[in-house]
Symmetry: C2
Subunit: 641 residues, 2 copies
Amino acid sequence: MTTSNSTTPNTSSDKTTRAFASTVRERLPDAVDPASMAPFPASRKVYVTGSRPDIRVPMREISQTPTITMQGDEVANPPICVYDTSGPYTDPDVELDIRKGLAPLRRAWIDERNDTELLEGLSSAYGRERAGDPALTPLRFPNIGRPRRARSGANVTQMHYARQGVVTPEMEYVALRENQRRAAIKDDPELAKQHLGFGFGATIPAEITPEFVRDEIARGRAILPANINHPELEPMIIGRNFLVKINGNIGNSALTSSIAEEVEKMTWGIRWGADTIMDLSTGRNIHETREWIIRNSPVPIGTVPLYQALEKVNGKAEELTWEVFRDTVIEQAEQGVDYMTIHAGVRLHHIPLTADRTTGIVSRGGAIMAQWCLAHHQESFLYTHFRELCELMQAYDIAFSLGDGLRPGSINDANDEAQFAELETLGELTKIAWEYDVQVMIEGPGHVPMQMIHENMTKQLECCDEAPFYTLGPLVTDIAPGYDHITSGIGAAQIGWYGCAMLCYVTPKEHLGLPDKNDVKTGIITYRIAAHAADLAKGHPGAQRRDNALSKARFEFRWEDQFNLGLDPDTAREFHDETLPKPAAKVAHFCSMCGPKFCSMKLSQDVRERFGSKPQQDVDVGLQQQAERFQAQGSQLYQPE
Amino acid sequence: MTTSNSTTPNTSSDKTTRAFASTVRERLPDAVDPASMAPFPASRKVYVTGSRPDIRVPMREISQTPTITMQGDEVANPPICVYDTSGPYTDPDVELDIRKGLAPLRRAWIDERNDTELLEGLSSAYGRERAGDPALTPLRFPNIGRPRRARSGANVTQMHYARQGVVTPEMEYVALRENQRRAAIKDDPELAKQHLGFGFGATIPAEITPEFVRDEIARGRAILPANINHPELEPMIIGRNFLVKINGNIGNSALTSSIAEEVEKMTWGIRWGADTIMDLSTGRNIHETREWIIRNSPVPIGTVPLYQALEKVNGKAEELTWEVFRDTVIEQAEQGVDYMTIHAGVRLHHIPLTADRTTGIVSRGGAIMAQWCLAHHQESFLYTHFRELCELMQAYDIAFSLGDGLRPGSINDANDEAQFAELETLGELTKIAWEYDVQVMIEGPGHVPMQMIHENMTKQLECCDEAPFYTLGPLVTDIAPGYDHITSGIGAAQIGWYGCAMLCYVTPKEHLGLPDKNDVKTGIITYRIAAHAADLAKGHPGAQRRDNALSKARFEFRWEDQFNLGLDPDTAREFHDETLPKPAAKVAHFCSMCGPKFCSMKLSQDVRERFGSKPQQDVDVGLQQQAERFQAQGSQLYQPE
C-alpha cells in the first residue's frame, strides 16, 4: 500500500516556512463581498424592539403586489416577515468595514451583568505566540480587542442565569426572534391557515415568551450559544421546541482556500440562511482566519479545537496532550468561539466495537482520539479532563457540542453498538456539564436509512435527557456522491420532524472536495427546505404562513411575489426567464410549463370566476349558491358531502 | 384583469398555418444523441437469459478495482449489477437508427399469443387525417408499421393472462429484472449485509419468481404496462412489492421545444434511470412527436390524452366531447402508448369542494374536466363513459393511470375533502376496470406536509384495494421555487417507503418553466435517490448491496470505484477534480475535504491496520485480541459490552 506521503503535494512542517508561505500566498479580505450585501428583492430590513431600546431584533419583510380582481380593483396583500440570519450585511443603513468587524451589540448586556473581567492579554501560549509574530502582522485582523473572562467565582453562562430565574437580554431577543411577529397574521385568515402538526413530544407554545426561553435553557432542552468574547452576535436559540436551525460548515484545508474566501463563505452562508457557522479549517493560518470570521459574524461560530491541536503537533495524533488541547480551547475561547465540538465520548473500550464496520471511524475527531487512545492504551484525555473542560467552557460561556466520534459513515454502520455506546457516554457527560451550568448539544449522524432515523432520535432524547440534537444529515443512502445534499436533506427533514434541533448541512461536494460558494448556497437552501419542512410537520405555530402567501401568489399569477417569497428569488427568476424572458411574461396569466391556452391554474381561476368575483369569500359563495340552486332544482349532481 | 390573450405571443388556431410553421421550424432527430450512448465508466451491458433464448434481460455490471492490502496484495472486488433502464442505447453491440426505431423484442411473444390482429390502417379519424397530410411527410417518423388490436372477443391484457394463471414472457422478464442477480451476492458477506426494513405492510419475497409477478398482477397490486403496439418495450413492473419506480415527464409546449429535443430528453432520461416516460406535449405536432418517442423508447410511455383532445377543440374545454376524446385514445393506443392518465374521478359534485382552496384546481386535466362539467352542468363524460374506456384499454392492453384531477396544489390544500372525495371515486373506478382485467394505477399528490403523507398513502391503499399508487413528489413545502426537485424528493422518499409504487419526478424548473436536459437529469437522479432510499427503508432484499460496495470503496480510497458505483459517475468525478485535478489524487489515500495529513478515513484505517491486516476478518481478530490481552492484564479499559 502506498502511503499518503508519496502523493502529498506539500506538507512541510516547518512553522516559519509555512508562515512565510502564508504571507506570500494568502488572500485577505479587503471589503465585504458585495454579493452578500445585495438587497433581497422587494425586501426591507425591519427591527422589532424589545423592552429596552438596545434590544432590536432584525427581520426581513417581503412586500407583495396587490391581487387584481375581475373588476380590475386592487386588493392589497400584506407583507410577509421572515427569519433573517444575514446580519447587518443586508441593512443599507449600517456602515460596514470588514477590517473593523461588526458592532458589538451585546457589549452593554455583558458589561451590565458585571460578572466578567477584561484581561490584559491572551491567556493561551499559542495565542500570544501568534500575536507576537511580526511575520503574521499582514495577515492579522486589524482590530482585535482585549479578551474577556468570567471573574473568579462567577458563573456567566446563559444556563446559569436561566436557572437563577433571570431573563437576560439575549433571552428576550431570542423570544422576539422566534415569534417572527406571527401575531400580525392572526387577523388574516388565509395566511393563518395551518394544518395540525405531529410533534413527537415537542411542546411548542403559540407564542414564545422570554420566560419560555429561560425555562427551556434552564431545563437544558435548548441552548443559546453566545461566548462573552463574541459581542457581535445576534442571539439565537437551538432546541426542539423552537424553529429548527441549520449550520453551514466552512474552513480551509491544507490544500486549498484563503482567509478572504472563508470570510466570504461565511457572509454568503448567512445570507441564504445559515443559523450558525462552523469554521473547520485545518490548513494554514487557522488562528488568524478564525479571528477574521468571528469579528465579522453575527451568527454563532462553532469549531473543533482538536483539528487545530493536531496541527500543533504536526498531525501526529499520538503526540497530542491535554496541555496542547487545553491551550487551544483557551486560545479559541478568547477569540469568541460560541460552541466547540468535543469528542469526549470516544472511550477506549468503544474502539473495538468499530472493527467490523464497513467504514470504521469516519469522524475526523473520532479517528484522532481513537488513534491517541490506542497509541497510549489510555482513556481519552478529553474524557478524563472533562470537568476541567467544563470549567473552561463556563468561564467564557461556550456551549459544548459533544461530538459523535463514532458516528456511522455508511448505511451499513448505522445505529450500531459503537454509535449507541458513545451516545450513552455523551448522556453521562451532558449531566456533568449541566452541573456546571454549561450548555450542551449532542452531535449525531451521519448515514442512516430512513427506517432507522426515528430510533436514533428517540435514543438521543432518552440518553441525553432532551439536550438538543445536532445531526449531520443523515444521508439515507450512500449511492449518490455529488448529490449528498439531497441524500442527506431527505434524512434531515425527517430527523428535524422527529425532534432534532439543528441540522448540519451537507453540500454537493461532500466526500469529494471542499465546497465553494455555489456549493455553500446549495447546501444552505437544501437545509432551509429540510428545516422548514420539519417545522411544518411539527406544526410550529405560524410556520405555514410563508407557504400560504407564496401559493396564493402562484395561484394568482403574481410571478414577482412568487419569486420574492421563495428561499432563493434569484434562481427562481432566472429559471423562469430561461423559458419566458420577456418582461410581459412576468405578469402573464400562464406559465411556460403549459403555455397560454393550456394552463391549469388559469383554467381553475376561470372556473372560480364563473361563480363569483374575488376575494375568496365571494368565490365560495358563488360556488355554494350554484350548488344550492342545482339541489333546489332536484338535480343530484351536486351532492352534499 | 387582463386576459391571457393580451400577452399571448402566437396562438393562431388555423391548422394549416400551424402545420406549415411546423415544417419550417421543427427540428427532427437525425441520429441518436451521442450523450445517451456514451458508455458508463467501468461498466458493461450484460443480459440474463430466461427460460427461452429470446428472454434476455439487460443489466449493467460495474467492475471494481481490487483492494490493496498492507502487504501490497490485491484482493479482487466483485462486479456490482445494477438495474438498467437505458435500453439498447448503452449496448455497443446494437446498431441504432433513430429513424428506424428500436427492435421489436416483444413481437414474437405478442404473435404467439395469437389473440391480436394487424389492422389495415389506423382506426382513429385524427390519426388517418395526420397520416394523409402530405405537409406532414417531412415530420413523420419514417418507419411506421400497421397497428394491432385485440381480436374480437379476446382479452389481451397481462392482467387477464395473470388471472388465467398464465406466466407470460413479459412476466418472466420482469421477475429476472427485479432480482438483479441478487443471488450472486449471497456468498459475499460484506455485500450481503442489510438492515431489517420496515415495510408498512409490503410483502416482498427474498426472490421474485415469475409466479409472484403473475400473482401480484392478477391481484391488481402491480401493473405491467405494455401496449401491444409497443413491441420495442423492455417489460417492467410497478407495484408496492417490487422495486420503487420513477417516471420522468417530457413534452413540448406551445411556446417551446422540438421533436428532436423531446426524443433526446427521453433517451437522456432513461440513461439516468427513468423507469417510464410521460410525454406531456401540448404544443405543435403532438401526434408526430409521440410516434418518434415511442418507436425509440425501451420504457413504457404514458400520456394524458385529454391534453391533445383539448388541442383538437382549440383549447376550449367546453367544446370537448366523448367522441373527440375517444378518437384521441384510439389514436394514441394504436401508436403504442402504454398507460394513459384519465381524469375520470373529477365528478361534478366534487367541484364546489375546491372553492375555498388556496390554489383551487391545479391539475391541468382536473381543471379542464371541471370547466367542462360546469359549462354543461353534467357529470364528466370520462366518468359516464368509463366502461367504454375500459373496453378500449383492454383492446390494446393499456393501463389506466387514474388521474388525481383534484390533487392539492399547495401545502394548505393537502388531504382535503376534495382530494379524498375524488380518491374514493378512483377506488370505485379501479374495481370497474378490474372487471375488464384492465390494469390500473392511481395518481396522487402533489403538495403534502410530511406529517400528512402517511395518511395519504394509507387512504389510497384502502380506497383502491392496493392498486399501485403513483405520486408527484409530494412537495413538503411550497417555499422553494427553483428547488422543487428537493422539496418533492423529501416527500417522494417518504411516500415510497410507505408503499407508493412509482414516483413521478419533479425538476428544478417545476412551477417556473419547461425542463431542459440538465433539469431532466437532476430530476431523475433526485428521484433515483428517493426511490432507492425507500427500497432500503422497506428492506427490499439486496437493496443495500450498492451502498455496501460504494462505502467499502470509499473507505479504501478506491476513488474510481466510488465514482463508478454512484448514480452519476460524471458529476462525482468532476467535483473531485475541481479540488484535486491531478490523476495521482485519484489513488491518493486522502480526500480534498481534509487534506493529506488530516483525513479521518486514513486515520481510521491506520487504527485498523495497527491491529491486523486486511481483509476485514483479520482486522476484527486483531482488535479483539488486543481487547482480550488488555482484559487478561486486568485492565478495565476494554470493557465487555
